[in-house]
Amino acid sequence: MPPTETFYEVMRSQGITRRSFMKFCSLTAASLGLAPGMAANIAHAMETKPRTPVLWLHGLECTCCSESFIRSGHPLAKDVVLSMISLDYDDTIMAAAGHQAEAILGEVAAKYKGNYILAVEGNPPLNEDGMYCIVGGKPFVEQLRRVAKDAKAVIAWGSCASWGCVQSAKPNPTRATPVHRVITDKPVINVPGCPPIAEVMTAVLAYMLTFDRLPELDRQGRPKMFYGQRIHDKCYRRPHFDAGQYVEHWDDDSARKGYCLYKMGCKGPTTYNACSTVRWNGGVSFPIGSGHGCLGCSEEGFWDRGSFYDRVTDIRQFGIESNADKVGGTAAAVVGAAVVAHAAVSAVKRARHHGPGEEGGD
């Protein structure tokens, strides 16, 4: 593997025709929202720039990110990016195994020092010195720290790597910790979702590989181009929300008419992701399109934020599981009752104080 190898050479050696390559460049430019002329720039970059290797590590996770990724709607994008990655290291899908495979990690890290991208699926559990996730006989957190040390940037795939997801849900017995809390000296790009959308994953990778820079990130480290808006903002059922037309039960007339799922606890209004525009399975549908509310899987701690089916979700701050309106309504009722009681005592006191026959005014 000569160090001057370009992306284009890698793709051609994988049997991809130039025509297919140009299509991939056009698709990437389009999916990133770039001007049509940018496709040529992408092609030029991929033909001339040395290839940036990607190492793909797996911590505590369910591999749903990989599953999503290899089902990228556009097979070409998948083939191209995947072939670039599998060349190096991805312990779930690469053919090599054992110590030889693990040795690749060290080789790439040494050869491309400071110049490779580390993609992490899942997160490291920190309790018991990281013993809850062992890769090649050692805690995953050690592997993560070692490989991240010389990486140019780190991509945190999915809600596991970005926020912690289900393994960090209360009470988080293994102390599963998101990647950006462990790797603090490198830029970490969060690509949350359980899993993230395939096209979003390939586009983020393609952007970083071709432009050699990080995509613009929001406050929580997510690429703005895909996480800049809520599901709600681009939902095709939004007109029903604004009109005040809601599904009240799963089998009612409103459900059949495709009204807004707000009252069924849809988390679209509080979830940042591209599902309502990019959709899933090659643009076939997304949860709301199939008549079910959004679960908010790309939001931090979505397992611990109350029911998937309540609009006003339960909170636990008061020692009981209840929602804010029940807690608040109870408080208001108690205050109201106290006021009535106080008023009654005041009236009695006043009546006694003035007494019959006495003059008013004290």
């Binding site: 009240e248 609009r311 608040g328 005041s346």
Partner: protein, 234 residues
Amino acid sequence: MFHVEREVTGVLVGERLPAVYVYQAPVRLWHWVNALCITVLAVTGYLISHPLPTQPGEASGHFLMGYIRFAHFAAAYLFAVGFLGRLYWAFVGNRHSRQIFTPPFADLNWWKEVLFELRWYLFLEKAPKKYLGHNPLAQVGMFFLFTLPSVFMIFTGFALYGEGEGLGSWQSQAFGWLIPLMGGSQAVHSWHHLVMWVMVCFVIIHVYVAIREDIMSRQSIISTMVSGYRMFKD
């Protein structure tokens, strides 16, 4: 007749007093506009989280939730701008205009007055005192049940509003940092609801106490917020 008024507490001693101008016109105007805003905000806010029954017909024929949200946002802007104006008035207005922002927590005498008022409300004191502005207990109540919650509601409200306005909007840039800090949009929604109920409790207490004091203490309360003058009954 002329009476010396004790500094800070504003408690009055002595016999008959002339009417005193307490609440200046901007404060009174703000009070009533603010009361209207809070009413609209609480009602529309509740309806946003618990929407009315589904409207019949086509979506193109209705904009019910849109109007409810519009009312909420319009009242919210008025509330926020009013609060800023009220804050400004605390600097340029009379000394009573500062009371709801600056309770003198370091003043021991003031705390004694708070205790006295507590005893008065627990029926342990026979006769109430006279105060020019808020009594010290009312000041504590105002500060913790109105002033601080208002700031909280303005901040969380604009943070949530910024989500709809988009990442580049000034609302998102100025207040959006609150959302990750508080654990995500859903959590901010929950807190926004809870503090709404704090303000509902405040309104219940505020209205009750104002009426009760008007009847039972020795000074005017409700009419003062209309005319600006505090009258004393003895």
